[in-house]
């Protein structure tokens, strides 16, 4: 019996997501979706693609390709680790929705989005990925806005900016093919690179095109926005790395290194700057996420195998940090009028675990030792400093801003006019999830080896960059 990998990791999740849209039992949705996601992650890790398996006398083979409208969707065995990471990460959110109200849509639409994004990795030629990413963006809008609430401006801007990315990337892809055909045409190369840069500037929300992120964090449910701000940039970064891997002239261009570094630093410094000054807990997370993308771009700018290793080391840290941060914010959001500093005074005493989780996630983003974000940032900082001292200094300034944001948030949540006493109001499931998340943050921070089980094979996805 042969089954194709895209059927398992693309079509099945999309169909499942469509079916789950009619289920309204929160507990069932949460448990079932998380279990299916974990199952898909385990299958990706342990079931070999393109190799026959004998299970109880039945020969089963997962073939890598599926052809549709003359184009192939191919999931190679080297992509198994990425699928594990993506479905594993999704399981965190699906399970987390158990303890957060108004998030029932995350599992059904989440499965569809992940299916589409996996298709973006699998589609051949790979530059068609932009189309699937755009479809995922469209699907995510109903996730962000329910029919019972008026949409904020952030959603509209999210839709506009993400939609504008697609034309630029598709056009750049076509131009890049022209550059391959005539490598000596410098003007064409510059045009292609500019188009590509513009496309990814929209897709990855590079300064100043990221205004929708803080707006969205202010308007929409932080847990859902957290999910999107994890999955979309992660897949977009994989897509960008694919471009760099595919085109050697692009990879070896010093201008590209400069551009990536400048963009990355701009994201980190501006993210840190605003995180240090912001007075809204949700918006601080937005700036943290922006800086997080900046770190990934900086890792790519190293243009070495070490850079790719750092890029992948950043992913599990980002996954856990985003999940914990957005979960903590959601717990707090239910207890306060708004997440402005003036409204969250003393909330730490009501929701100590959620408050601690938020602060720890912020500190993790700010490279605080012992936490998940520390090992990749340390490696990045060291590698960056060895090529550019000034770039490393700017990265340090950005990190300082992020740490300031964390400390200000802690102060805002804990300082009150008078002592009110500790009384945890979090539910048992919330405490369990937050506790596990915090432990995970420390495990990844002290034992980065623990993530190597998934990460060691990831660079193999890229034929040139990763080997």
């Amino acid at each position: 019996m042969t089954i194709t990998a895209p059927t398992i990791w693309i079509f099945f999740p999309i169909l499942l997501g469509g079916s789950l849209a009619f289920v309204h039992n929160r507990k069932f949705l949460s448990y079932f979706s998380a279990m299916v996601a974990v199952l898909l992650a385990l299958m990706a890790q342990f079931v070999p693609i393109d190799k026959a398996l004998l299970i109880g006398g039945i020969s089963l083979k997962i073939s890598p390709s599926f052809t549709i409208l003359g184009r192939a969707l191919t999931i190679a065995s080297t992509e198994g680790a990425l699928l594990t990471l993506i479905y594993g990460g999704a399981a965190l959110w699906f399970f987390g929705s158990l303890a957060i109200y108004n998030t029932t849509q995350i599992a059904p639409l989440g499965f569809i989005i992940i299916g589409l994004l996996v298709a973006s990795v699998a589609v051949q030629p790979f530059l068609y990925a932009a189309l699937f990413i755009q479809l995922a963006v469209l699907i995510s809008v109903p996730m962000l806005v329910s029919l019972s609430q008026p949409p904020g401006k952030g959603v509209l801007r999210f839709l506009i900016y993400q939609t504008l990315a697609m034309p630029f990337i598709l056009m750049a892809g076509w131009l890049l093919a022209g550059v391959e055909a005539s490598p000596g045409d410098l003007a064409l190369a510059v045009q292609a690179a500019s188009m590509l840069g513009l496309g990814f500037a929209f897709l990855l929300a590079i300064f100043p095109l990221y205004s929708w992120i803080p707006m969205l964090m202010e308007d929409s449910h932080p847990f859902i926005v957290g999910f999107l701000l994890w999955i979309l940039p992660t897949m977009a970064l994989i897509f960008l790395t694919g471009f760099l891997d595919r085109y050697s002239w692009l990879r070896t261009s010093p201008q590209l290194v400069f551009t990536l570094r400048a963009a990355g630093l701009l994201m980190i410094v501006s993210g840190g700057f605003w995180a240090a000054l912001e007075r809204h807990l949700g918006r601080i997370m937005a700036f943290g996420v922006i800086a997080e993308t900046g770190f990934s771009l900086l890792a790519l700018s190293l243009n070495t195998s070490a850079g790719i290793l750092i890029l992948f080391l950043l992913i599990p840290a980002r996954t856990l940090t985003s999940a914990l941060w957005s979960f903590g914010l959601s717990v707090i959001r239910n207890r306060v009028k708004t997440m402005r500093f003036s409204d969250i005074r003393g909330v730490l005493y009501d929701a100590p675990l959620a408050g601690a989780a938020i602060v720890l996630a912020m500190l993790s983003t700010g490279a605080f030792p012992l936490l998940a974000g520390f090992p990749p940032r340390l490696a990045l900082w060291q590698n960056l400093a060895s090529v550019s001292n000034s770039a490393a200094l700017w990265m340090g300034i950005g990190i300082l801003g992020l740490l300031m944001g964390a400390i200000r948030s802690l102060a805002a949540m804990s300082i009150t006019e008078e002592f009110i006493g500790w009384s945890s109001q979090e539910s048992l499931s919330q405490r369990l999830i937050l506790g596990l998340g915090v432990i995970g943050l420390f495990i990844l921070g002290v034992f980065p080896k623990s993530a190597q089980f998934f990460l060691s094979d990831l660079p193999l996805m890229f034929e040139r960059l990763g080997r």
Partner: protein, 197 residues
């Protein structure tokens, strides 16, 4: 065919500018449908009839979706935009886009494998005025129209260099998706663009 293409460009200029300045949502949706017809004509110079038809139908269905959704919503004359609502200003902005398009058409035509000046002009006009539209409003209906206009411009240009069935299907799905998302957001907000019925 060349003449027909230039007529289509003229229609695009009129329709996109009309969408920009129209205050009545019915008129702007009708112009959007006309715009898709002009797009269809331009597409015919590079894409097979079937593919061009797919794009036309997707565009018209999109118009129907946003039109029907809008018709079911109450009117809200209160405006949200900070930009001058005077038609003259919008006409001036559209004129500026037109001038820029005239300036860049030759080089874009050269880059896009000599797609043709008419195709390049029509595509850039749509993309440019669409973006202008996006920059001038935060009303859901208008944002949707702006996005559809920009995407239509891109589709014309891209069809000149890429004829994949998967791409055509995906772009049609995206056009429909944008319209559906726009409709969804309109229902969610129960908001009414500033146009008077």
């Amino acid at each position: 065919m060349v003449l027909l293409s230039w007529i289509a460009v003229a229609i695009i200029l009129i329709s996109s500018t009309s969408i920009l300045i129209a205050r009545n949502w019915r008129i702007s949706v009708a112009w959007l449908a006309v715009q898709y017809l002009a797009m269809f004509i331009l597409l015919l110079s590079h894409a097979p009839l079937g593919m061009a038809l797919v794009k036309l139908i997707a565009g018209w269905v999109s118009c129907a979706i946003i039109g029907m959704t809008r018709s079911g919503l109450p009117n809200n004359p209160a405006g949200q935009g900070i930009w001058p609502r005077a038609r003259l200003f919008r006409l001036f902005a559209a004129g500026a886009v037109g001038v820029i398009v005239v300036g860049v058409v030759p080089s874009v035509n050269h880059i896009m494998a000599d797609a043709g000046a008419a195709v390049a002009s029509g595509a850039l006009l749509l993309a440019g005025i669409g973006m202008l539209h996006l920059g001038m409003t935060s009303r859901i209906l208008r944002v949707t129209q702006g996005l559809l206009t920009t995407l239509a411009g891109f589709e014309i240009l891209y069809a000149a260099v890429e004829g994949s069935a998967l791409i055509t299907a995906a772009l049609a799905a995206i056009t429909l998706g944008v319209a559906l998302v726009g409709a969804y957001l309109m229902i969610a907000s129960r908001s009414i663009p500033a146009e008077t019925s």
